[in-house]
């Protein structure tokens, strides 16, 4: 069937074939949802009293978003949809928690239906800031970990080659990358460019004041 010179069926809001293919949802998730993580973390941090729960909450939001889109198709507004999922999840959890404090619940139920203007994706990144962020993220790693990751990524060495070069076991290399990628994800995904740049500025200011 030729679809040239026509308007896409999907955009006329005729539902596409459901459930959506995994590739399609995964692609959308990576490019549309993950850039919202800094905003999502700010939201969770602001409204959930227990900071150690935050990574769990975040992943639960992702699971709900992913499954919902797979079953029902794409939302009209990704940021509004993620916001609502996060809000509903927090309310659910607070209700089910054995120790319920009414002011916590009241606070959450007062969250608006729509996100504010600061709940936006960090999608377009200024190249210079992106590179600064990457260097910052790599700086956070232990020297051995950073070395392994740079040799793997930049030099494109195999684990055997890295093992020979650094004189460490291949199992250790896998472990270093495992630890390293999680740390990178924390800095790159959760914190994002704006926070990192602000952090750098604060550090700079503090140095100047001393």
């Amino acid at each position: 069937m030729s679809t040239l010179n026509t308007i896409d069926q999907k955009k006329l809001h005729i539902p596409p074939g459901l459930p959506l293919a995994i590739d399609v949802v995964s692609d959308w998730f990576s490019t549309e949802v993950l850039p919202l993580e800094p905003a999502l973390m700010r939201l969770l941090r602001r409204h959930w009293r227990h900071p150690e729960d935050l990574p769990d909450l975040r992943q639960e939001v992702y699971v709900r978003v992913y499954e919902s889109v797979r079953q029902d198709g794409f939302p009209l507004s990704t940021s509004a949809f993620v916001f609502v999922c996060a809000r509903n999840l927090m309310v659910d959890r607070a209700r089910r928690a054995q120790v319920v404090s009414f002011d916590v619940l009241a606070d959450l139920e007062e969250l608006p239906e729509q996100p504010g203007t600061d709940f936006t994706p960090e999608r377009l990144t200024d190249a210079k800031q992106e590179l600064q962020l990457l260097e910052l993220a790599l700086d956070e790693l232990s020297p051995r970990c950073r070395e392994v990751i740079l040799l793997c990524k930049i030099e494109g060495l195999t684990h055997k080659q890295i093992s020979d070069r650094l004189g460490i076991a291949e199992g250790t290399i896998e472990k270093q990358i495992t630890v390293g990628v999680r740390s990178l994800a924390e800095r790159l995904c959760a914190q994002g460019v704006t926070a990192a740049v602000a952090w750098v500025r604060r550090m700079g200011r503090r140095e100047r004041e001393q």
Binding site: Q59, L184, C189
Partner: protein, 341 residues
Amino acid sequence: MNKTPLPLNLVNHEAVEGTAAAWLARKSDTIRWSEQDEAALAAWLAENTAHRVAWLRLQHAWKRVDRLTPLREQSSIEQADVPAVRPWRPRRRSVWRASIAGLACMLIMGSAALWRAASPRSDEDHYVTAIGARQSLTLNDGSKVVLNTRTRARAAVTPDSRTFWLDEGEAFFDIHPDPNHPFVVNAGGDRITVLGTKFSVRREQGRTQVIVLEGRVKLEHAAHHGGAAQPADIAPTLAKNDSAVAQEGGVLIAAKTATQTLQQLSWREGRLEFDDLSLADIATEFNRYNRRQLVVHGDAAHIKLSGRFESYNIDGLVRLMREGFGVKVQEEGDRIHLSLN
């Protein structure tokens, strides 16, 4: 610590992330990663959505580190798939050189043709395409280039160096891999460097856009108009499905989906594809390809639509706007005015 007690059936996301990271670390050893490994990973991902989202998140961060990586020689594994570097074949330029008078004739005839003009520098080949034209060409090293509408370009490809200038317009490049001789595209003051890659460059007044289909692309942005390119240490490396725009304020990079990338490159097949684009932007695109120009007035500019059109089919678009959206159409010579009232 007063941790909120969690319902019993919850996933341990911390453990899941650990497993996902371990998978990623294993997969990073490209030489040892087998088909069985790939199948095992796929099975683990399919077990639970929590596995999949943890994996996607880590992958996202891992890929971003690629922006830091400079172009380097292809690894020995990749090299095995690359055919031997083709020997340089000299072109017989004399056959192609057109006289100035000949050029003028072609312009008057308005043919959608490509010609190689007599160039003041004998080592550069010049290329120009007319409105609505599209032309494929093969460079001396075997690289293939597709020039889009209204494009002016120059090429100087020898056994020792490969340089291309995109002075105006848009081109898609399928560059023959040669780790020893980077292929450089100059667009305004911006410089794009690749080793063997598929990507497009679009240059218009003060603005360069680069879209990567495959491989790695280094983008050095001119700090000031007409100035020298930035030092290489802050030039980002773009990877598959990245889309970058370099203009006065700096460089913006966006990661797109595979589908979006192909949509942006559909012009190679003579097709324009839009996803939720305003009529104003659609008109701008169509106007690149046609002598008749769309002029959109007032609120009609805000109408959004998605679809696919042959780039020459202005009439089809206009008919759709009139019948599907009630847009008023008024033709005045070479201009087609679209409005809502």
